[in-house]
């Protein structure tokens, strides 16, 4: 059994209430941080821990904190990014629903470290139940003296608010989130300036994912060095993985980074294997925006080593053979899953969610969706696959924010690894159109695909 740092008490009845959470050692990190540590010492502990942003980008959290500008007389803000909308990812919803005080505890410590006196938890608007859960938990923490004026008699003041969005995936991008929090359309800002210099209301701001902020609690309690001992290489600590798709036991799992992918999929401790006795065909390992990998490459690298659940192992070889840990949104596809239909589904998602600010993304995502739609419904041409790759290349790297890349990679990787399945849709158009809900009648789903 791997160590559990975030979900250790998740099954304790009433852990969503202040009193039960406190009885299990909750809010100890607030006492330790506010009473015995300086803000700089907290940032140093987070740096030592090696914690990398859990929202998807994997940028070192301590380093991000140390970039924060500290001009005199100007407010600083901490904003929690709870705009969880990446297909495949549902870990933050789980954490906030069942153990909301863990996030609030992390917010207090992080806000103190950053010198913020007002902090916001931005949640996607669809998570109204979680808005209510967090607001209730904030009221409890405030009543017990952990929020508000003069927290625990230390002289530190903090107000914490929950802000619902309006339903837009793009608001998971940190500058779009800040625009949305300012009451505007979620159009990403051109960087620089980065939020650390000019963020919310033009003030220095740190934006962190829900899980990153929750991870600050065990880092302060046990020390950054202890946290860094867990994991492998530069992938330290534990990570929440949300596993969905054709798995026997889908759900949210906390793993120590470095667990072999094969163990994660097939062991009873985690997903228990593929549902209905089917074979594994492919995996999206870190949310829809990361490249899809066929079964052979998700279980082993091109060098025939076991692939591990870590930032480095999943991305070895860049996009030729690898993928990314991303947000930890793990989708498994069984042998019946239709890659063409799935790729069309992803393309439709990104077209729908593009904010429309950059032409390559606005036009390119729609173009890819149309071409994939005709392939899926039996009107495709053999030249479509090259066209899709061409369009994806023209989007990638040519947009203000990473949504363009996120739209391009699933399409390009699906064609790279499953080109023969796309071709099958062209040559067997009548059979393709008669298919029922994405169940492929494709002859050889597990055929090993050569990679460069």
């Amino acid at each position: 059994m791997g160590r559990k740092l975030l979900l250790e008490h998740i099954n304790v009845p009433g852990i969503n209430t202040f009193d039960v959470y406190r009885s299990k050692g909750g809010y100890a990190s607030v006492e330790k941080a506010l009473k015995t540590m300086s803000p700089e010492a907290i940032v140093e502990e987070v740096k030592k821990s090696g914690l990398r942003g859990r929202g998807g980008a994997g940028f070192p959290t301590g380093m991000k904190w140390s970039f924060l500008a500290k001009p005199e007389g100007v407010a600083r803000y901490l904003v929690c990014n709870g705009d969880e909308s990446e297909p495949g990812t549902f870990k933050d919803r789980y954490l906030m629903t069942y153990i909301p005080h863990l996030l609030i505890e992390g917010m207090i410590v992080a806000s103190f470290a950053l010198g913020a006196n007002t902090s916001y938890i931005y949640l996607r608007g669809e998570m109204m139940p979680q808005v209510r859960i967090l607001e209730r938990a904030i009221a409890e923490a405030k009543a017990k003296g952990f929020l508000g004026k003069n927290i625990l008699g230390t002289g530190y003041d903090l107000e914490l608010y929950v802000q619902p969005g309006g339903g837009a995936y793009i608001c998971g991008e940190e500058t779009a989130l800040l625009e949305s929090l300012e009451g505007k359309r979620g159009n990403p800002r051109i960087k620089p300036p980065f939020p650390a210099i000019a963020g919310l209301y033009g003030c220095p701001t740190v934006v962190n994912n829900v899980e990153s902020i929750a991870a600050v609690v065990p880092i302060i309690n046990e020390g950054g060095d202890e946290y860094a001992k867990i994991g492998i290489g530069r992938s330290t600590g534990t990570k929440l993985i949300s596993a969905g798709g054709n798995l026997k036991k889908p759900g949210v799992y906390e793993i120590e980074l470095g667990v072999p992918v094969e163990e994660f999929i097939y062991s009873d401790e985690y997903c228990g294997g593929i549902a209905n006795g089917k074979r594994l065909k492919a995996v999206v390992a870190g949310g829809s925006s990361v490249p899809i990998l066929p079964a052979n490459l998700i279980l082993k690298t091109i060098n025939n080593e076991a692939r591990l659940m870590s930032y480095e192992s999943l991305s070895d070889g860049g996009f030729v053979s690898g993928t990314m840990l991303g947000s930890g949104g793990f989708i498994a596809y069984d042998e019946d899953a239709c890659i063409v239909r799935n790729t069309w589904n992803f393309a439709r998602f990104y077209h729908h969610e593009s904010c429309g600010q950059c032409s390559p993304c606005r036009e390119g995502t729609g173009w890819m969706e149309k071409v994939l739609h005709r392939l899926e419904y039996g009107h495709g041409k053999m030249s479509d696959m090259d066209l899709l790759v061409d369009v994806s290349k023209k989007i990638e790297g040519n947009t203000i924010c990473p949504l363009g890349d996120a739209a391009a990679w699933p399409v390009a990787s699906a064609i790279r690894h499953f080109r023969d399945e796309f071709e099958w849709h062209v040559t067997n158009a009548s059979e393709a159109t008669s298919r029922n809900y994405g169940l492929a009648h494709y002859a050889d789903p597990l055929k090993v695909v050569e990679t460069a």
């Binding site: 990812t89 549902f90 109204m128 139940p129 339903g167 995936y169 505007k184 798709g245």
Partner: protein
């Protein structure tokens, strides 16, 4: 898109609603009251079932911003209804994780059961339905949500959807 040809009655915000607006605006620094726009539009939709142009004008007046600043936000985000909907809007996740476990079949079943296409309202005014993009519950699919509380229903089957619809019909009668 915003339709200006809808017959749109003037709206009045009750003192209770205004006091909720006031509480929201108190969360932001002075002069940054526009930050309250998204939460306030949610409250307006919960009260009236949708966000009409006169309601948006009133919100602009309350926040001391231009009406266009409200329109551009309401038309950007997918959660705001710019025309009347059924009393209950069934929003089914139609993204990959849910489709792998049958979301498309569930949408077909809802269409057949309610007898209206996506985006239409049933003749009794009770229901409309639509597919929405990823609801961040891929491990529990297929899922749907119903506003204004955004109650969440997981692991849907045709039978559980039938029961949900009949429960909502009974609730509407009482």
């Amino acid at each position: 898109m915003l339709r200006v040809d809808e017959a749109q009655e003037p709206v009045e915000f009750s003192p209770a609603l205004i006091s909720k607006f006031d509480e929201i605006v108190s969360r932001y620094p002075q002069g940054k009251q526009k930050s309250g726009l998204l939460p306030i539009l949610h409250l307006v939709q919960a009260e009236f079932g949708w966000v009409s142009a006169p309601a948006m004008d009133k919100v602009a007046e309350y926040l001391s911003i231009l009406p266009i600043e409200v329109y551009e936000v309401a038309t950007f985000y997918t959660m705001y209804f710019l025309r009347p909907q059924g009393k209950y809007v069934l929003e089914v996740c139609r993204t990959s994780g849910c489709c792998l476990v049958g979301a498309e079949k569930i949408m077909d079943h809802i269409e057949e059961t309610l007898g209206v296409k996506e985006g239409e309202v049933t003749p009794d005014g009770l229901f409309s339905w639509r597919g929405v993009e990823c609801l961040a519950a891929c491990g529990y699919g297929p899922v749907l949500q119903i506003g204004p509380e955004y109650t969440f229903y997981e692991n849907l089957t045709n039978e559980s959807v039938d029961k949900l619809i009949s429960d909502l019909k009974a609730k509407a009668k009482n």
